[in-house]
C-alpha cells in the first residue's frame, strides 16, 4: 500500500542515506583504481597547479602495474599469501567446526565456561599476543617461514570459527541428529551425513571470514617474516614500496588493488551462503 507522500520520504530516508553509504564504501576502491592508472607526472602535481585534478586522469597508464609485477616480488607475495591463508583457514575450519559442534551439543560440566573462555582468547589483542608468540616461533625455529603464520593465525581464527559454528549448530534442531541415531547412525555418522551437510552455509561463512582475516593480516606477518621472498602481500607492498619517506603511490595502489581481488572473488562467489550463515537461517 502506497501512502500519500511516501515516495519522497522513502527517497529522503532510504535511498539518500543508502547512496551516501555506498559512495563512502566504494570511494577507496575508486581512489585505488585512479591512483593505479595515473602517470607519475599527474600523481605528484601540487594542489595549486592549474591542471590539478585528483578525481580522474586524462592519460591512463599501466606503468605502475608493470613496475609492481616486474620490479618487485609481488607474484611471490601473492602465492605466499594464498598458501598461508588457505592453510590457516583449513586448520581453523577443521578445529572450529569440531569444537563448535562439541560445545553446542555435548553437555559436559564446563561447556558454558569453556565456550566463553574460547571467546575471550579471541578478544586478546594481537598487538599484545605477538610478543610471546615471537618467542615461541623462535624456540621452534620456524621464524621467516610460512609456518610461522600458518600456525599462529589459528590462534585468533579458531576461536572465531568455533563461535560462529557453535551458534550455527545450536540452530539445527537436535531431533535431526537424534532421529539419525535411532535410524542407525553412530554419532560421527550423524555428524558427517546429517549435521555437516546442513551446516554448509555456516562452514562456508566461517571459511570466508577466516580466509579474509588471514589474507589481510598485517602485524604477525610483519614481525615473523623478514626476507622479501617470504613476505605476504600487505607486508610486502608496504615495506618494499615505501622506502624511507618515498611512497611509490602508483605501485602501492596497484598492489592493494590486485591484492584485494581474490578476497572479492571469494566473497562474490559465496555471498548467498555467507548471508545465510551469518544470519543463521536454515531452510527446512
Amino acid at each position: 500500500m502506497m501512502i500519500e507522500g511516501a515516495r519522497w520520504k522513502k527517497w529522503l530516508w532510504f535511498y539518500l542515506p543508502l547512496g551516501a553509504f555506498i559512495l563512502a564504501l566504494l570511494f577507496p576502491f575508486y581512489w585505488m583504481i585512479v591512483t593505479t592508472v595515473r602517470p607519475d607526472g599527474e600523481l605528484y602535481r601540487p594542489w595549486n597547479h592549474p591542471l590539478y585534478s585528483p578525481f580522474w586522469t586524462s592519460h591512463p597508464t599501466f606503468e605502475h602495474v608493470k613496475d609492481l609485477l616486474q620490479e618487485t616480488l609481488f607474484n611471490t607475495w601473492m602465492l605466499n599469501t594464498m598458501f598461508i591463508a588457505l592453510a590457516a583457514t583449513l586448520i581453523s575450519l577443521v578445529c572450529g567446526v569440531i569444537a563448535g559442534y562439541a560445545l553446542a551439543r555435548l553437555t559436559f560440566r564446563w561447556a558454558g565456561i569453556l565456550g566463553t573462555a574460547i571467546f575471550v582468547t579471541y578478544l586478546v589483542p594481537q598487538t599484545l599476543l605477538f610478543i610471546p608468540l615471537a618467542e615461541i616461533i623462535r624456540d621452534y625455529r620456524i621464524g621467516d617461514t610460512p609456518w610461522a603464520l600458518i600456525l599462529t593465525y589459528p590462534t585468533f581464527l579458531i576461536p572465531f570459527c568455533t563461535w560462529l559454528m557453535m551458534g550455527y549448530f545450536k540452530a539445527i534442531p537436535k531431533e535431526l541428529e537424534e532421529c539419525a541415531r535411532i535410524d542407525g547412525a553412530a554419532r560421527w555418522q550423524a555428524m558427517l551425513y546429517i549435521i555437516f551437510p546442513i551446516a554448509v552455509p555456516g562452514i562456508l561463512s566461517a571459511g570466508i571470514f577466516a580466509f579474509t582475516l588471514s589474507w589481510n593480516e598485517f602485524i604477525y606477518a610483519l614481525v615473523f617474516l623478514s626476507s622479501p621472498e617470504q613476505k605476504t602481500v600487505p607486508v610486502g607492498v608496504t615495506s618494499e614500496l615505501i622506502r624511507g619517506d618515498v611512497f611509490f603511490w602508483g605501485s602501492l595502489m596497484a598492489g592493494a588493488l590486485i591484492g584485494s581481488i581474490p578476497v572479492a572473488i571469494v566473497y562474490s562467489f559465496f555471498v548467498e551462503h555467507y548471508v545465510a550463515g551469518v544470519t543463521g537461517s536454515i531452510k527446512g
Binding site: C179, R181, I182, D183, I198, K283, G284
Partner: protein, 363 residues
C-alpha cells in the same frame, strides 16, 4: 514384535525429578498412549525408552533384554518426532532410505522397502521432493514412512500430530490407527491431547509431575477415574467439580453446598459414611446432566442459573452456575434454554463421582 517393560524408572535432571518410579508393561502389538499436561514427564519417559536420555535409575527392557546401556541404534526402535525431523538436504526417498543405508541393506532391498512404504502411505509421487517442498501432512507421512521401512520392534511417537491443523490432525489420527492395525507393531505414543489418547490407545497412561496417575483402557479411565486429576483431564468438556459437605440424616447421606442439596447415591453411601460432616468433591460429567421439570423435587437434582448457551448442532453446552460452582451440562439440541434462565438439572446417580478433598483420590 516386542514387549517393553519399564521398571522403577527414574530421571533426575539437575534439581528436578522429571520421572518418578514409573512401572509400565507394554505388551506385544499394544498401542499405549502416555498422556498428561506439559512437563509431566511423558516425553522424558519416551526418550529413555529410545535411548536419547540417560536413565537415572530403574530399568528399560525390550523383549526381556535390559537396554539401559544400549545405544539408540541398537534397540531396534523407530521414532517419529513432533517437528518431523526430516533431513532437509535429502529427498523424500533418501530420507526414508537413510536408516536402511546405515544398516547396510543392499540397494534392491532398500528400493523395495521404500517403494512399499511409500505406497502404504500414499506418497509415491513425492519421492523426489525435498522436505521443504511438502505440506505439513505430507511431511508427517514421510516421517512415518521413515519409521516403518525399518520394520522396527517398537514404534515411538512424540506428539506427532501436534504441528498439524485441526482437520488434518483428525484425518492423520484415523490413518495412524489403521496403520497400527496393519503393521501390528508395539507402539508407545506421547501426547498432551486427551482426545488423541482416548481414540488411539489400546491402553492409556495418565501422568502428572513425573508419576503415573492411572493406566487402563480409555473407557475404564473415563468411567472410573482413580483421582480428581484423571477425572478432570480425561473428557471434554471436563468433569464438573463441586465442593460439598456430607451430612447424615437418618440412614441417608446428603451432599450439601450453597444452592445445592442432593442425596448420595446408594452405591457410594457406605464409602462416604466416614466423611460425614467433612468436605468432599462431587464430580459430575456434563453428559450425565439433563434438564428436569422445574417443579419436580428429586434427590438427584438441583437448580442452576444458565449463563452461556453454546449450541454445537449435535448438542448444546449449557454453562450454568450452581451456588458458587460453575457447572457445564451437555444436553440434547432440542432443549430450549436462554441466558439468565433458572433451570433444574437432574443427574444420573450411578455415574456420580466423589473425591477426597485433600488427597483427591476417588472415594
Amino acid at each position: 514384535m516386542a514387549r517393553v517393560l519399564l521398571k522403577q524408572l527414574n530421571k533426575k535432571f539437575d534439581g528436578t525429578h522429571a520421572v518418578k518410579d514409573v512401572n509400565l508393561e507394554i505388551r506385544d502389538h499394544e498401542f499405549v498412549v502416555l498422556v498428561g499436561p506439559s512437563g509431566c514427564g511423558k516425553t522424558t519417559t519416551l526418550r529413555m525408552v529410545a535411548g536419547l536420555e540417560d536413565i537415572t535409575s530403574g530399568e528399560v527392557s525390550i523383549d526381556g533384554r535390559v537396554v539401559n546401556n544400549l545405544a539408540p541404534m541398537d534397540r531396534d526402535i523407530a521414532m517419529v518426532f513432533q517437528n518431523y525431523a526430516l533431513y532437509p538436504h535429502m529427498s523424500v526417498y533418501q530420507n526414508m532410505a537413510f536408516g536402511l543405508r546405515m544398516r547396510k541393506f543392499d540397494k534392491p532391498e532398500i528400493d523395495r522397502r521404500v517403494k512399499h512404504a511409500a505406497e502404504v502411505l500414499g506418497i509415491q509421487v513425492l519421492l523426489d521432493r525435498r522436505p521443504r517442498q511438502l505440506s505439513g501432512g505430507q511431511r508427517q507421512r514421510v516421517a512415518l514412512g521413515r519409521a516403518i521401512v525399518r520394520n522396527p520392534r517398537v514404534f515411538l511417537f512424540d506428539e506427532p500430530l501436534s504441528n498439524l491443523d485441526a482437520g488434518l490432525r483428525v484425518q492423520m489420527r484415523v490413518e495412524l490407527k489403521r496403520l497400527h492395525d496393519r503393521l501390528e507393531t508395539t507402539a508407545i505414543y506421547v501426547t498432551h491431547d486427551q482426545v488423541e489418547a482416548m481414540t488411539l490407545g489400546d491402553r492409556v497412561v495418565v501422568m502428572r509431575d513425573g508419576m503415573v496417575q492411572q493406566e487402563g483402557a480409555p473407557l475404564q479411565l473415563y468411567e472410573h477415574p482413580a483421582n480428581r486429576f484423571v477425572a478432570g483431564f480425561i473428557g471434554s468438556p471436563a468433569m464438573n467439580f463441586i465442593a460439598v459437605t456430607i451430612a447424615a440424616s437418618g440412614d441417608a447421606l446428603w451432599a450439601e453446598a450453597p444452592g445445592l442439596r442432593v442425596r448420595v447415591p446408594p452405591h457410594k453411601t457406605q464409602a462416604l459414611r466416614r466423611y460425614s460432616g467433612q468436605r468432599v468433591i462431587l464430580g459430575l460429567r456434563p453428559e450425565t446432566l439433563r434438564p428436569a421439570s422445574s417443579g419436580a423435587s428429586g434427590d438427584y437434582a438441583f437448580d442452576a442459573t444458565v449463563e452461556v448457551v453454546e449450541p454445537l448442532g449435535s448438542e448444546i453446552l449449557l454453562d450454568t452456575r450452581v451456588g458458587e460452582s460453575p457447572v457445564v451440562a451437555r444436553v440434547d439440541p432440542s432443549v430450549r434454554a436462554s441466558a439468565h434462565q433458572r433451570l433444574r438439572l437432574a443427574f444420573e446417580p450411578e455415574r456420580a463421582h466423589f473425591f477426597d478433598a485433600v488427597a483427591e483420590a476417588a472415594i
